[in-house]
Symmetry: C2
Subunit: 562 residues, 2 copies
């Protein structure tokens, strides 16, 4: 059979036999099926095009199936659908290719960090309910910092004591520390899918906010593992560690906020909205500058996640009010769409990739050990999470005078439960740590990779599926919708300028001038008072060109308007 060459390709047409091709190139079965249909030469570019086509097709299928399941069942969501579709397709390819391969296309792990993660985190910052986030800022930070450190310590210590009993190969102290860091990285992406910001604002902001701060901690941890000699840990190194973390946290946040403010200023001063193609220019600039904040932070060895998250917050608070109405709708929905596509992409890929035979072959003779390692890791994650959540929540409750605001036992349980899920971040980090140039070499490393995959799949599917029913069972609708509204009408909170009613909200806040006594009694209220004054008096006039939050522009709430 004579085959015509591919588009724009000038290679000589070849005759080939498909059976011969599949054995030579170890092609995937689906690609092989397509090869029967599609008469193209077997050059790498054509192969890549075929893989991309299949992947795009699967993404579409995931969205459609996910939508149907989400509407007809109460348990499913898009992430888990994509994960299951990926697993199903992986199984199909695995069976039909006689155990040769399980995925359509292979990406480097950097692809995840450079292209897929930024839109998800930026969108989360852009759409986050700022009032809730900042009200719980101290709790979130303590979860993200001390919680992650405690988790890290417990997992590392536990693994170093328990793994030698299984006798599957020698691991260095650095490997145990890396394991601790990998499994203390909460998966913010899955949280976004499982928890609903409108239904459970407090839980959402706690779990998601923890995930964002967690990233900054894990960067510091990784740098620390590489740079510090942890055998002679003393007060000095601990202090150094703390200073490093504080610097990183502040610099990342500062960078993100600065980029967001710069974007607002550019759009305002250049009057981008005045030209014909205004919307395109505005949206393009916001997109690119958001990405810039992430990648710049990454370049300077800061936390990109933290930077792009705060850039999203700054953009939605200032830049969003400077653009035209059409741009407001477009940014709100196109950022959400990009984030959505990236999420489905990640889970689909993880689903397919988790069946990759190359990774499982190394543990053929010891499947029991892999299961034991997974169970140990999962139990350590649970213990580590409980160990910081309960004390920190109790501590946080001590500072909350209003009983409605306290994090009750049931809520603690849900925060604990939802945060156990480990996702693409853990897998990507595990690959980075335990594979040398894409290939697993040592049996012990291969075992850790497969165990990571098992933990991620199990936690995402089981904990992900059960979170919604759990919330329904523990917190009946009437109780979990409340915690945010009643308190916000009783005391003025660290709320966002356009989150509240312009008249009542402003008067309420500005009427009660805080005293020094107030500062100690209600620190957030006082901080909020000065922040609002500063925001209305200086920030908004400079970055939005409007006097105060009660201006026509300032009162538009993203969620209320569109």
């Amino acid at each position: 059979m004579t085959i015509v060459t591919k588009l724009h390709s000038n290679s000589v047409p070849t005759c080939y036999d498909h059976r011969g091709e599949i054995s030579a190139c170890s092609m995937d079965y689906l690609s092989w099926l397509l090869a029967k249909l599609v008469p193209v030469a077997s050059d790498p570019e054509a192969e890549f095009v075929r893989q991309i086509t299949l992947f795009a097709l699967l993404l579409c299928a995931c969205i459609i199936v996910g939508h149907l399941l989400e509407n007809n069942t109460r348990w499913m969501n898009q992430s888990i659908t994509a994960l299951l579709v990926g697993l199903g397709i992986g199984c199909f390819i695995l069976i039909t290719s006689h155990g040769k391969s399980s995925h359509i296309l292979e990406f480097k792990q950097e692809f995840f960090f450079i292209y897929l993660l930024p839109p998800i985190i930026f969108n989360a910052g852009f759409q986050v309910k700022k009032k809730q986030f900042f009200r719980n800022f101290l709790t979130i930070t303590s979860y993200g910092v001390f919680g992650t450190l405690l988790s890290f310590a417990i997992i590392s210590f536990g693994a170093s004591r328990l793994f030698p009993m299984l006798d599957f190969g020698y691991l260095e102290i650095k490997d145990y520390l890396a394991l601790g860091a990998i499994f203390s990285a909460t998966d913010s992406v899955c949280t976004l899918q499982v928890l609903n910001q409108d239904e459970t604002p407090l839980l959402y902001s706690l779990v998601f906010g923890e995930g964002v701060v967690n990233d900054a901690t894990s960067v510091v941890l990784f740098n620390a593992i590489s740079n510090f000699d942890l055998s002679d840990m003393n007060y000095y190194t601990a202090l150094d560690f703390a200073i490093n973390f504080f610097k990183l946290f502040m610099l990342s946040t500062f960078l993100g906020v600065c980029v967001g403010l710069l974007c607002a200023l550019i759009i305002r001063l250049l009057k981008l909205g005045s030209s014909g193609q205004s919307t395109d220019h505005e949206v393009a600039l916001m997109m690119l500058m958001a990405y810039l904040s992430y990648i710049t932070a990454d370049m300077f060895a800061l936390s990109g996640i933290l930077a792009v998250f705060f850039c999203g917050i700054a953009m939605s608070h200032y830049a969003w009010h400077n653009v035209t109405d059409n741009s407001q709708v477009t940014t709100k929905h196109s950022f959400a769409t990009m984030s959505f596509i990236a999420e489905v992409f990640i889970f689909l890929y993880v689903g397919m990739d988790s069946l990759d035979v190359a990774k499982w072959r190394f543990i053929e003779d010891s499947p029991g050990k892999s299961i034991w390692v997974s169970i140990i890791l999962l139990v350590l994650i649970m213990i580590g999470r409980a160990a910081f959540l309960i004390p920190l929540s109790c501590l946080s409750n001590l500072t909350r005078r209003d009983s409605n605001e306290r994090i009750g036992f049931k809520q603690q349980f849900i925060v604990w439960w939802a945060g156990i899920m480990r996702g693409a971040v853990s897998i990507a980090l595990a690959y980075k740590k335990f594979t040398g140039s894409g290939q697993t070499i040592q049996p012990a490393n291969a075992l850790l990779i497969t165990s990571t995959i098992t933990v991620v799949l199990f936690s995402t599917i089981v904990f992900g599926l059960l979170t919604k029913p759990l919330i329904k069972a523990l917190l009946p609708e009437s109780s979990y919708r409340e915690p945010c509204s009643p308190t916000s009408s009783m005391i003025p909170l660290l709320e966002d300028g356009h989150d509240d009613d312009p008249e009542t909200g402003n008067h309420r806040t500005l009427r009660s001038r805080p005293s020094l006594k107030m500062l100690f009694r209600r620190p957030t209220t006082t901080v909020h008072y000065y922040w609002r004054k500063f925001d209305n008096g200086f920030m908004r006039p400079v970055f939005c060109g409007t006097g105060s939050a009660s201006d026509a522009n300032g009162t538009r709430d993203m969620d209320a308007v569109y």
Copy 2:
């Protein structure tokens, strides 16, 4: 100086000296400057992050500078700004790196075809004024098919006669044919920037439509050059060629329209708009399916450009009316934004890449020859374009009874002028043809690459800059705004259901029942009558769920509403 490692990287920290590093890795100067600021290990991933950061920064700069220039001068546009910024930065890097390099990051040519071109062409189809496009469909097709073939023949023949006189190396007959194909590929991307759809709808649809059809022809040409033995060209091979073209054209269009209709059907039947995250799901599905049409066509060796263009038309005619209001705004503007970013990206990259020293080094001893080759090619392009434009336009005018509709001499001149620009497509094809795995080997090939760059830069900058003033000079505002409106109120055209006034438009069309005599006198009018009947009676009820164009949903015009 001890350097800390990059985010999530577990490599051992190394000490290095920047001077040593730059000589070892032949790093770009800007990156080197950054290396002074940014303490990261010199692993390839960190290097890539640094390159992406710089490129994102330049993209932002291009948008801002382009916006300022576009608003303050009458000649400039975003493409030319990006090209000039790219050239400027390229110069800067070239000088400061002492002639070692000129670009920040290097992409494979496939990157252009797989990622950057689809959003541009899809957006063009999505936003094209369908009335104008279909009214001139025959003319556009004849330009795109016969025009491209004639251009190809003239350039190939002229080059094969004139180049041997310059004596710069031996070229095969296939090389000359490839040259013809490369330089008969009109640059649709640049046309979109230089011509304005609202100001000169006729010219825009002619030049841009030609560019789209041109792509289908060039695919057939490339396949033909590879597969046919052109030394014994006879009636049979010519017929084969024609059948091949017709098949390709029809299949690509069919594929694009089918995907567009399928998308409309899925959105309608699944009621994607009913769930909470409706807009994200709808927009994501439209985006992915549009991309699917391009990449599937590519996979089946069809014309991806043609497919995604017609997919865009079908989506804007059917799918767009099934989605929520927010999705309508979001799709319209986010597709335009993505297209805009891709355009700026391409021109910025071409600007930087055109100064790449590796390509120019081969012609150091014969710069005169490169200039002569460029001049010959440019003259051949001009002759080839004139050779088909004048006869085909005259032929087209014979079928137009209304003198307002005819393509006058001045308009022919502008179509000729605007279509001379060659762009990224030509450069990408030239690289594919004349470089083996990214490196130019033969001096003759290197000369052709540099000549292609020269022709592209010269034609884009000179012809691009002068097009707007030329249109202003030849067609004063009063005359060039008219040709579309008056005719459309006199005879019912092949207009789009939501392009016209719902009441008058429908009554007008359906009142005058065409006869067989009409079919010969006014073929488009008759075709249009039956199409409208079919569209309102079958297509819209099935794919939009609305009875006719006069429904509340059907009458919304994308341009009028948002």
